[in-house]
């Protein structure tokens, strides 16, 4: 499921919610290996989980057999996350969070992604689907890398 180098993790999964736990564990292992602290690690894991949930729910409308490609790259200063799907393209202008003051279920995923990451870009692809790029500037724990 995941060819990986020291500074890169690649994972391909089917759009099955049952796969999310294993993906989170792999991301957690990766961010720990590159020396991130628990808070930053948690934010990266959470934002990726929210992004994958949105792909399954909206791009693939709950179908569990569609491909999702995930990559994380550590360039030394930034963790760059890419999530590629081949599902329905949601117009970028329609991707937004709800008003947090309106307490009701749902609509929090995009807010979480923006809060946890420094850059979040949804890039519709010409050959179908969407590439989501998220970046986070990170601090290192001395001696971990």
């Amino acid at each position: 499921m995941s060819p990986e180098k020291n500074n890169k993790l690649e994972i391909c999964i089917k759009s099955d919610p049952a796969a999310l736990g294993e993906v989170r564990r792999k991301i957690d292992d990766f961010v720990a290996r590159v020396g991130l602290g628990d808070e930053e690690a948690g934010e990266i894991v959470l934002s990726m989980d929210e992004a994958l949930t949105n792909v399954i729910r909206h791009a693939y409308e709950g179908r569990t057999d569609r491909p999702i490609e995930i990559s994380l790259i550590d360039d030394g200063e930034t963790i760059c996350v890419e999530i590629r799907d081949y599902g329905i393209q949601v117009p970028v202008g329609k991707i937004h969070s709800r008003d947090l003051g309106d307490v009701r279920p749902g609509g929090l995923g995009v807010h979480i992604m923006h809060e946890c990451m420094d850059c979040v870009k949804f890039l519709p692809q010409k050959n179908g689907g969407t590439l989501l790029v998220m970046k986070k500037c990170v601090k290192r724990h001395m001696g971990n890398k």
Partner: protein, 111 residues
């Protein structure tokens, strides 16, 4: 009993609900179903123990928001305790920390 609801202890009209495992898109529906079963027994107070929940995303939060909404309508006192650092972070990020009654300990929640 629902898979992520590990235990329910009733004391009169108070129910202590022990939730366990990751609560995400895969498991949040189970949690919601479990809460619906509990609500059928008309509790006056629901105390949710999240000590054994290492991870929760917005799907899990949504299940708790639904429970909160029902609780408010039915005048049920809903309290949470045992939030791990990561679970607490989700509540902080979504600004729900002040919306829920989050207690530090089981004693405080039961008090």
């Amino acid at each position: 009993m629902s898979g992520v609801i590990k235990q329910t202890d009733w004391q009169d009209k108070t129910v202590l609900v022990v939730v366990g495992g990751d609560i995400d898109m895969h498991t949040s529906a189970e949690l919601q179903k479990g809460f619906q079963e509990i609500l059928k027994n008309k509790p006056e107070r629901i105390i949710v123990n999240l000590t054994a929940v290492p991870y929760m995303d917005s799907s899990g939060v949504a299940s708790l928001v639904k429970l909160l909404s029902t609780s408010r309508k039915s005048k049920i006192d809903l309290r949470l305790f045992g939030l791990s650092k990561r679970v607490k972070a989700v509540f902080d990020i979504t600004r729900l920390t002040t919306v829920f009654n989050i207690c530090n300990t089981q004693e405080e929640a039961m008090g």
